[in-house]
């Protein structure tokens, strides 16, 4: 028998195999041998550029470590939170965005933590101004920091944001026409979008004339139909999607397009930027599942590569909590 020479598979075959094995395995295959590495270079780099690669995170308070399962290259990885410099142990992870975790330590200090490397950037405290060290850290991160800093606090009643290099958080002023209560906030194409439980959506964009963000109404509330809403960027970040809970069971339309869960129905709609304020129903998510974070961050994930059974589904972070 001739020696097995799988390392000599032609690039087109390898590409096909990697595609069938799924996006994660493309990166794994690239780590097998040099010929595979060369053959998969283009596809691999494209895969690595894709945002929103999810990994599971668990805080292990006993060892003050964060456990991550990002990829199968290494089965699991414990990231130790650096405790030099007398930093207080992390007690909670309150959110995540663009690969950053927002952590809270024992003394209520906020930090951004790049979980896979363990790099931590302390954030100014919510109530008082921060130190010079913080300012220089944020300065280094530049514009991208603006995209990554995102925080909800005050139980949906207050929003604060941080400009690059700023020493303190800026509290946002809510315009009179806006209902103060919002249930979700997401960053999309240069603006923050908030959604109320009645599906009223407001866009918050940087305002040149002031240091704050300028609020623009995107969609009117639909109190008669909608009882809860979450916002999420589509896979690749091209579209803004809304998952909303519609209580009405008598509506024929919802019976056809809705996602049934318990006695509630869920709808997914897509914001049509060209027709301002219009949300078009999404009937089929395709090879995508949405992980819906209730009161937290939601995420679109690709179901390509052997996860067909998960496609076109909504998954909820925890059992539904009624907001009534």
């Amino acid at each position: 028998m001739a020696p097995v020479c799988f390392s000599d598979l032609p690039p087109e075959a390898l590409d096909d195999i990697a595609r069938r094995a799924g996006p994660l395995d493309n990166v794994v295959c690239s780590a097998v041998c040099r010929p595979w590495r060369r053959a998969l270079k283009t596809t691999r780099l494209r895969t690595l550029e894709q945002p929103s690669r999810p990994y599971s995170v668990r805080l292990d308070q006993w060892s003050n470590g964060i456990e991550l399962c990002p990829l199968r290259l290494t089965r699991e990885r414990i990231v130790r939170i650096p405790s030099d410099g007398g930093a207080a142990p992390v007690t909670r992870i309150i959110g995540s965005s663009h690969g950053w975790l927002v952590t809270v330590d024992e003394e209520c200090g906020l930090s951004l933590l790049e979980a896979v490397t363990g790099r931590a950037f302390p954030l100014p405290p919510i109530t008082s101004s921060g130190s010079k060290k913080v300012a220089s850290d944020l300065d280094q991160m530049g514009e991208s920091m603006f995209q990554k800093a995102e925080l909800i606090h005050g139980g949906g009643n207050g929003l604060s944001f941080l400009r690059p290099g700023a020493k303190s958080w800026t509290a946002l002023r809510f315009p009179k026409w806006m209902q103060r209560k919002y249930v979700d906030v997401v960053y999309h194409k240069g603006a923050f979008y908030t959604a109320s439980r009645e599906a009223a959506v407001t866009a918050w964009a940087p305002d040149a004339s002031s240091s704050g963000l300028h609020a623009t109404r995107v969609t009117e509330p639909r109190p008669e139909k909608c009882t809860w809403a979450a916002l999420v960027e589509s896979l690749g970040g091209g579209d803004l999607l809304m998952v909303s809970s519609v209580g009405a069971m008598d509506d024929e339309d919802h019976a056809r397009h809705g996602y049934l869960r318990g006695s509630r129905r869920y709808e997914v709609s897509r914001y049509e930027e060209r027709e301002e304020g219009r949300w078009l129903p999404v009937e089929d998510l395709g090879e995508v599942a949405i992980l819906v974070g209730i009161g937290g961050r939601s995420l679109c994930v690709s179901t390509r590569g052997g996860r067909d059974a998960l496609r076109n589904h909504l998954y909820f972070a925890r059992p539904f909590v009624s907001f009534e």
């Binding site: 097995v4 390392s7 069938r20 041998c33 040099r34 590495r37 990002p70 896979v116 490397t117």
Partner: protein, 173 residues
């Protein structure tokens, strides 16, 4: 319908009466001739285009990249898919079962799986190529690079620089 050259003539006659289709000779790199129906040969896009171009149908097609053992197995697939109908539910189920058994045998012999994959790629037999690459992909799924190397008998040849890059990619992915 694939046989060695001995039984070829009889098989060709029977086939011609049955379907009126031409017979085509494929020759392995060891010079062994395989006579197949045109319908079977047309599973290969490479041969199909040569036939349609009015090429050397009578002289047959030499396949210098494919050995006899591999060609016999590839023809087995082409016969099944080229000569049999797949209109009814039962016919399709029979084909699916054939594919399942076919690939299970190959999966057990990775060296042979490799040869058939290469031949399917070279001959552009879409269905067979998909079947083999899917089989390889299924083996890869859920494995670490080390486990993949073991499964396919691949030698570790990464340089220190590659390892550095891989570490970097792992953290970004």
């Amino acid at each position: 319908m694939a046989t060695g050259s001995g039984a070829a003539a009889a098989a060709a006659d029977a086939e011609e009466k049955e379907s009126g289709s031409r017979m085509i000779t494929l020759t392995s790199n060891e010079g062994k001739a395989f006579v197949v129906t045109e319908a079977s040969a047309r599973q290969s896009a490479t041969i199909r285009s040569m036939v349609d171009d009015g090429g050397c149908v009578d002289k047959g097609f030499p396949l210098p990249n494919v050995d006899s053992k591999t060609l016999a197995r590839v023809i087995q697939y082409c016969d099944e898919h080229g000569n049999k109908e797949a209109h009814t539910v039962d016919e399709r189920a029979a084909l699916a079962k054939f594919d399942k058994d076919f690939i299970a045998e190959l999966d057990a012999d990775k060296a042979f799986l490799y040869d058939v994959t290469m031949a399917a790629n070279y001959l552009h037999i879409q269905g067979l190529f998909a079947l083999t690459t899917q089989c390889i992909a299924d083996t890869i799924k859920g494995k670490t690079p080390e486990e993949i190397r073991t499964a396919f008998g691949i030698e570790y040849d990464l340089t220190a620089q590659d390892e550095e890059e891989i570490k970097e990619e792992d953290t970004h992915a």
